[in-house]
């Protein structure tokens, strides 16, 4: 009986199925997707290993020496080892700062995507499954929110939270605040997609069968409907990861994101921006390059994924 209620039962290992899938075949065909994947993998690895491979811990004020401030990159005549990409005005090693910044940007981006995904999937499941007034309410809110760009909503959430909390926040709190801002700005797309998938799925036999054998609504939703709507959600998540990273960087650049003591790529660019005119271009250039590379690679990957899995989106 339970076999009947479940969707298709996986018989072979996930890896074997992936290797035979159209997805993998189309991946091998697209050189651009492979290059984007390589860059993404590289940047993820750097971020993950940042504490191990960085010459310096940029968050530790004890390691910063003002005497080393504003050094140009190593290939420049005035460059000094071990500061391969030079240092900023605090004597912070730019390479280390970029590694740690990548780590932070990715962390906030991924957390933001997870939070927005959880909100969106939750509301989408509820709206699609129960319909009626709940559905109308959730979807109207989504409509109104879609009228505004996500960055504006993130800024407002950020500002209101600061007002409510009275402005006293430590670094961890500001990370969670940004994650929450991103979560509240990007849930709509998930909710809409999940909702429409649920409305299709819920009339299918396996859901009806689940009802007949007396499973409760939450169990049916999570165990039987959710797995079937994850494909499109995954595509949105990939594309939204780039957006979330951009949003974090933008908030930090606008000075409402992560503090200078714990810089993400956006914060690094904001502080580095001040030195553009005095000739210390490396302070802004390398974080900028890292951010651009990261976002471009993830975007390309997301684009490819969307085209490869096309049917449910667009």
């Amino acid at each position: 009986m339970s076999v009947l209620v479940h969707g298709p039962v996986p018989t072979r290992s996930a890896l074997a199925r992936f290797r035979d899938s159209d997805l993998f075949a189309s991946f091998k065909r697209s050189k651009l997707a492979m290059a984007a994947f390589a860059v993404t993998l590289l940047l993820f690895t750097l971020a993950l290993l940042a504490p191990l491979i960085s010459p310096q811990n940029p968050y530790d004020p004890a390691q910063l020496e003002l005497i080393n401030s504003n050094l140009p990159p190593l290939w420049n005549a005035d460059g000094q080892s071990p500061f391969v990409l030079g240092t900023d005005d605090q004597g912070r090693d730019v390479l280390s700062a970029v590694f740690y910044g990548l780590r932070l940007s990715l962390l906030v981006g991924i957390l933001g995507v997870v939070v927005s995904g959880l909100i969106g999937i939750g509301l989408g499941l509820i709206a699609g499954y129960f319909g009626g007034f709940v559905d109308t309410l959730i979807m109207r809110v989504a409509d109104v929110q879609l009228t505004f760009p996500a960055i504006l909503i993130a800024l407002v959430v950020d500002g209101v939270a600061k007002a409510a909390l009275g402005g006293q926040m430590d670094t961890t709190a500001s990370i969670w605040l940004i994650v929450a801002s991103i979560g509240l700005s990007f849930w709509v797309q998930y909710a809409r997609t999940v909702r429409s998938s649920v409305m299709v799925e819920k009339n299918k036999d396996y859901v009806q069968a689940g009802r007949l054998i007396g499973l409760s609504s939450p169990v049916i939703l999570v165990r039987h409907v959710l797995p079937n709507v994850l494909g499109p959600v995954f595509v949105i998540a990939t594309i939204n990861l780039a957006l979330a990273i951009i949003t974090e960087a933008t908030l930090s650049f606008l000075g409402t994101g992560l503090p200078d003591s714990m810089p993400s790529l956006g914060t690094l660019i904001r502080t580095g921006n001040r030195f553009l005119f005095s000739g210390e271009w490396w302070i802004v250039a390398f974080p900028g390059l890292a951010l651009a590379g990261l976002v471009l690679a993830i975007n390309l990957l997301g684009d490819w994924l969307r085209d490869a899995l096309n049917p449910k989106l667009q």
């Binding site: 109104v144 760009p149 500002g159 007002a163 409510a164 402005g167 409402t256 553009l276 976002v295 471009l296």
Partner: protein
């Protein structure tokens, strides 16, 4: 048609009401308004008096009604940072933002349409591929990074264009314009390109896709069979049919342009509403945040409405109330 516009109007009012509710909640519940006005050492009795004079003891519905009434009369309260009426601050900053948004939109439309048409008509040329690559970068990179890059190229390295501010402006009544001075115009270039780039790539991709679609239609084939010149077909028939959906998107994007100017204005220290808003967020200046939110909502809603009406004018098929396609 009138029913359609009325329905849209109602929807617009509903959206504005919702945003008004949010703005009011921010105003009322995010932090104690009294604390924002008084000093730390103000005695309790005085606080109670201020509370009463602000009407904070009335029921929430009464307070919202009063707030809505004030908003309709253009009173958005007093800025915590500047100790000035928010309405006056916004009015002073509005021309800068609107001129920037206008230039950015014009840039996005002209260049976006040109590049999109080129990419559709000369699909396999190198230049078309370069345009597509540019569009990918424009769509992927964060706006502030593009702004910094442009500043680095054109201000720092080449020294051609100013990197911040509006340049010299001329006062026309309450409006200040940068259109009438050379430095004002020069100052507009980089911010407009930065702000418009995202919309430009969007429009370019849209025009390209739509145009390729239109070129495959029967009426284009029939137009060719009638011996019309390639120019008439491409830039008359095909372009006009392409632009119908593009107008909608571009129009709807105008609202985003104004909202996105927050970032561009910060990069270029452009003295507009967006910069004011960012400073308000940084300094937790709730009245400005609430007012800006309401203003942007009003602009969005108005634009949506205008675009809907324009759309029916451009496409004759929609002009009949039945909207019947045979």
């Amino acid at each position: 048609m009138i029913a359609f516009i009325l329905q849209r109007l109602l929807q617009s009012v509903a959206v504005l009401f919702a945003v008004g509710l949010i703005a009011f909640s921010m105003f009322r519940f995010a932090g104690d308004p009294v604390n924002q006005i008084v000093g730390v050492d103000t005695p309790y009795a005085e606080r109670v008096a201020i509370r009463q004079s602000l009407g904070l003891d009335d029921s929430v519905i009464v307070q919202f009604g009063r707030y809505a009434g004030n908003v309709v009369r253009g009173e958005f309260g007093t800025s915590y940072q500047f100790r000035q009426p928010v309405a006056a601050l916004l009015a002073e900053r509005m021309p800068a933002t609107l001129e920037l948004a206008l230039c950015a939109t014009l840039f996005a439309l002209t260049v976006g349409i040109f590049m999109g048409v080129y990419c559709a008509l000369k699909r396999d040329t190198v230049l078309a591929k370069v345009f597509l690559a540019i569009s990918l970068i424009g769509i992927s990179l964060p706006t502030f990074l593009i702004g910094i890059l442009l500043i680095f190229l054109f201000s720092v390295t080449l020294g051609w264009l100013p990197s911040f501010g509006r340049g010299d402006t001329v006062r026309l009544g309450w409006w200040t314009t940068g259109f009438l001075t050379a430095s004002g115009l020069r100052a507009l270039i980089l911010p407009s390109v930065t702000l418009g780039l995202f919309q430009m790539t969007l429009i370019m991709r849209l025009v390209r896709a739509e145009m390729l679609e239109v070129l495959r239609t029967d009426y284009i084939r029939f137009a060719r069979a009638r011996g019309l010149t390639t120019r008439t077909i491409h830039f008359g028939h095909a372009l006009k049919n392409t632009l119908v959906p593009v107008i909608t998107i571009a129009g709807l994007q105008l609202g985003s342009v104004i909202a996105f100017s927050i970032i561009t204005e910060t990069v270029f220290q452009w003295p507009g509403m967006g910069l004011l808003f960012v400073q308000a967020v940084q300094n937790v200046d709730i009245p400005i945040m609430a007012a800006y939110l309401l203003l942007v909502a009003a602009i969005f809603v108005t634009i949506n409405l205008v675009v809907d009406v324009l759309y029916t004018i451009v496409d004759p098929r929609l002009r009949l109330s039945t909207g019947g396609r045979a």
